[in-house]
């Protein structure tokens, strides 16, 4: 069944909204505005009733799948359960009904909460200062790189390049380019890690930073990290930590102690705030003390017991968000950190890693495991054996949907052919993991016995396999 568009329910004059009668004497619009400024035709919005809206969007939600529907093993996305209490807290009237330009005196409770959140994040990451302003992971990357750029500019150093490993998230090179750097990509070694020789060859006087995810996108911990840091630092460059995989290390190791200089967090990954079908997230940035003058303005500060926004930061890179970032998301991350506490955070990491390794152990015979190194919270399989039988990783992903389970991240990292990147997270239990494993094994059998079934998947989703090529060739982007 094709779902109609919301405007298709419409009927001229139908309404879903009522306002109090205007209680002041009011004239015609033309009494207030020049005729040329008044819209001639009303905007083509739907004319529907409240019930229509409720049914339409309820219907749409039923064509969707979230963490609350089942396992969501998207590698690098850390789709853990989102506690409901956090939603309630973010909706507390006295926390949410605040205008960003209210006087600081009226919002001291919230400022204290944010200040504590900064301190927790600094402690978890081993950094000295944190800015909550960036609104997403890649926004955090951009901000971090701008901090690095500003630092070198202040020192009068011309450093124009940023090194990115070939296994990096696409946002890394894109953020580096947006911050005005030239991207130098280096190849990973056979173990899926940074090739120290390649790194040594790449660093020079023009390199501003190396961007690194640790554990990397293969889930493998870069055990040479101190040496990597030394190579970069000795050449005068800085080390940037992509926090996408921080769920693998909480309480075990801190990026600051690994000698990273700048990092971003993904509150919507590690700290359990829901991803909203694509956002909002939040991407706070942490830095070592020597970089703190360059953080975006305003900086949340404390004077005795009073919290305030400090705009007097002459070396700041400026602003990256109109206000203070995605505050509502921060409230949820704060609640999450307080609920878990120090030992809970460490346990979350332990179970995330346990779950991933358990799945890996159960799947590695059926699927190619391209990198044998120990992995942490996620692992990457390759579908090349299945591909030889004419079934691609994309087909496998689509077939998973038929079993009402979301697919892993596919075709990433780019260093693995037919990649399936699996991150179960700590909130799944052995039953759910077993079910997923069995499903994968089933699909593997199906590929042997009836490959067409898998190639034509999905069969049981609200729509069958969609034609991406046609969508791009003849863009239909609006009604």
């Amino acid at each position: 069944m094709v779902k109609p568009l919301i405007r298709d329910y419409g009927s001229p004059g139908r309404k879903g909204y009522s306002l109090p009668e205007l209680d002041i004497p009011a004239g015609e619009l033309s009494d207030y505005l020049d005729q040329s400024l008044i819209r001639e035709k009303p905007a083509g919005l739907p004319e529907v009733s409240e019930v229509d809206v409720v049914r339409h969007f309820t219907g749409l939600s039923q064509m969707n799948y979230g963490v609350d529907s089942g396992i969501y093993p998207l590698g690098s996305c850390t789709m853990k359960y989102n506690p409901k209490i956090n939603e309630d807290i973010a909706r507390l009237e006295k926390l949410s009904q605040l205008h960003p330009y209210q006087e600081e005196e009226q919002v001291q409770g919230s400022l204290e909460l944010l200040y504590e959140l900064k301190e927790y994040l600094a402690e978890i990451s081993g950094m000295d200062q944190v800015s909550l302003q960036p609104a997403s992971g890649s926004h955090g990357e951009l901000t971090g790189l701008m901090i690095i750029k500003k630092y070198f500019a202040e020192r009068g150093e011309q450093r124009t390049k940023v090194i990115v490993p070939d296994s990096a998230h696409g946002t890394n090179p894109a953020s580096a380019a947006m911050a005005g750097f030239q991207v130098v990509e280096i190849e990973s070694n056979q173990k899926g890690m940074i090739d120290l020789a390649a790194l040594r060859a790449a660093v020079d006087q023009e390199v501003a930073a190396l961007m690194l995810t640790n554990p990397n996108t293969l889930g493998i911990f870069e055990k040479d990290i101190l040496e990597i840091a030394e190579i970069v630092h000795q050449a005068g460059g800085l080390l940037y930590y992509d926090g996408a995989n921080m769920n693998a290390i909480m309480g075990y190791v801190r990026p600051g102690d690994m000698n990273f200089d700048v990092l971003h967090f993904n509150l919507h990954k590690t700290f359990s705030t829901p991803h909203g079908g694509g956002g909002p997230g939040a991407g706070p940035v942490g830095v070592k003390e020597f970089l703190s003058p360059y953080l975006p303005v305003p900086v949340l500060s404390k004077d005795q017991a009073r919290y305030y926004w400090d705009y007097n930061r002459p070396l700041s890179l400026g602003k990256v968000h109109a206000f203070y970032g995605n505050y509502g998301v921060m409230l949820k991350a704060y609640a999450y950190i307080r609920a878990l506490g120090a030992s809970g955070l460490k346990e979350a990491t332990e179970h995330a890693v346990l779950n991933a390794n358990y799945m890996k152990a159960r799947l590695k015979d059926q699927f190619e495991l391209p990198y044998q190194e120990n992995s942490l919270h996620e692992f990457v399989l390759s579908g090349i054996r299945q591909k030889e039988k004419g079934v691609s990783t994309l087909n496998i992903a689509k077939r998973l949907l038929d079993y009402q389970q979301y697919a892993p991240t596919i075709y990433f990292p780019l260093v693995v052919k037919e990649a399936l990147m699996i991150e179960p997270t700590e909130t799944e239990n052995i039953k759910t993991l077993d079910k997923f494993v069995e499903t994968m094994k089933n699909i593997s059998r199906e590929i042997e016995e009836k490959p067409q079934l898998v190639k034509n998947a999905p069969h049981h989703t609200p729509v069958r396999k969609l034609d991406d090529v046609a969508a791009a060739r003849n863009p239909d982007l609006r009604w």
Binding site: M63, A135, R338, L376, V463
Partner: protein, 446 residues
């Protein structure tokens, strides 16, 4: 409370399957030299009940808008949000989903974005829109970058009628791509068009204006259209409040090339500055330059209509350093809020909300004008916001009104304007009684 559901016994089974004895062994790749040898210095975990107590204690030290009568606007507007908005976005299939990478199991999110894009086009009078950007500031930043890419020129003319925070973000974004910004002063609350005209030259990539502008004033769009299109290569970027576009002539009619803005006014909670949503709309011919995700309609194996993320060769996960932007996570749930809000308001509702806000703002302004010593600075047309000057220091006025539970408006002395004053906003939520309260408070000051 840790939300882990494996039991100790299950943990043992799993360790055995992996072939190890202790969970710590899984972390053996981490060199000992960097392993943290102490517990994190974070308070002990809390039960739900304790967590509620802790957060409520903090919340109670805030003064929320529910306890005050607020006339604050400045880009963040306190409109009434129909009850169904929060009910519908609380459907867990929406808010606990990730970016719709697997389209066949994400049709809800994808169709909602398609509807969102359509409604943004309807409001702005543009041909296409993306799936959202991070906020009004970053959208303005992305717009100037996009104008730079299209024109291959470096000079951005930025009216000071554009929100000071958006200008700040645009300068941050632009400075790393070598863009040069020339800001145009205001005459009263309107962009100085003579100064604007003087700045237009061969190097100009774009002119950026806000509609209605930071002070609520509506710029002389017809004249601006004439000026900008005279140098036909120059792009016109309009930063617009989408709610106001329910009433006002859409920027598409004034030959805008890129329309961006803050979508908070479309049903999003005020939430101390975020999460909101940046929106962006443009013309078809610029689609390859557009940042961010776009959803398109297509058909499935059986010819049935469905939706996918499309034109992705602009994006970071494919183009990496050559992408049009680094944006990945956007503000999808906030865009869903806007979609539900606009569906609920509909054709008439949006005119009513915008119209009532405007009428009430004008009523208050007209009454204030009659008070000796008070002035409204806005010449000509303005929407639901205006700049007020008082016979006393703004600070005193604010304090006096706050004593009566009123947030009088925003003191603009914190920004880079020559003019001083108080920026006052009135939405449909303010009642006549509250407006009278405001007026009597001013009378006392006088």
């Amino acid at each position: 409370m840790d939300y882990i559901s494996n039991t100790e016994r299950e943990k043992e089974v799993m360790l055995k399957t992996i072939g190890i004895e202790q969970i710590e062994e899984l972390f053996s790749a981490i060199p000992e030299r960097v392993v943290l040898d102490r517990p994190l210095n974070i308070p002990t975990g809390l039960s739900e009940l304790e967590l509620l107590r802790v957060t409520k204690e903090k919340a109670n030290r805030n003064k929320s808008l529910e306890e005050l009568v607020s006339f604050l606007g400045a880009g963040v507007y306190d409109h009434y949000i129909p009850s169904i908005v929060d009910h519908l976005i609380s459907r867990a299939e929406f808010y606990t989903a990730y970016t719709p990478y697997q389209a066949e199991l994400s049709q809800g999110t994808l169709q909602a974005i398609y509807e969102y894009q359509s409604m943004i086009c309807e409001l702005t009078g543009m041909e296409l829109a993306n799936a959202s950007l991070l906020d009004g500031g970053s959208a303005t930043g992305e717009a100037v970058l996009m104008a730079g890419r299209i024109s291959r020129k470096k000079k951005i003319i930025l009216s000071k009628g554009v929100h000071p925070a958006y200008r700040a973000v645009a300068r941050t974004y632009g400075s790393h791509q070598g863009l040069e910004f020339k800001e145009i002063e205001l005459v009263d609350t309107l962009t100085d068009l003579a100064a604007l005209k003087n700045e237009l030259d061969e190097q100009t990539a774009a002119v950026v204006l806000q509609y209605p502008n930071f002070f609520g004033s509506i710029e002389l769009m017809d004249e601006i259209k004439g000026l900008v299109s005279a140098g036909s290569e120059i792009l016109l970027v309009v930063v617009a409040n989408p709610l106001a576009l329910g009433l006002l002539t859409p920027p598409g009619d004034f030959a805008a090339d890129i329309v961006v803005g803050e979508g908070q006014s479309l049903g999003n909670t005020i939430s101390y500055g975020g999460p909101y949503l940046g929106y962006m709309a443009t013309r078809k011919k610029y689609v390859r330059h557009l940042p961010g995700r776009i959803v398109g309609a297509t058909s499935d194996l059986e010819g049935k209509r469905g939706y996918v993320m499309t034109l992705q060769t602009r994006e970071q996960h494919i183009r990496r350093e050559k992408a049009t932007s680094n944006i990945c996570t956007n503000q999808a749930l906030n865009a869903l809020i806007a979609t539900i809000y606009l569906s609920t308001l509909g054709k008439e509702g949006i005119r009513e909300v915008a119209g009532q806000s405007l009428a009430k703002a004008h009523y208050l302004a007209e009454r204030i004008k009659q008070l000796p010593g008070f002035k409204i600075i806005n010449p000509g047309n303005y929407f639901h916001e205006f700049l007020l000057t008082a016979p006393c220091p703004v600070l005193d006025l604010k304090k006096e009104l706050y004593r009566k539970g009123i947030i009088a408006g925003l003191d603009i002395s914190r920004f880079d304007y020559r003019q001083e004053g108080l920026l006052v906003c009135v939405t449909e939520k303010r009642t006549k009684k509250e407006l009278e309260m405001y007026l009597s408070a001013l009378e006392v000051i006088n």
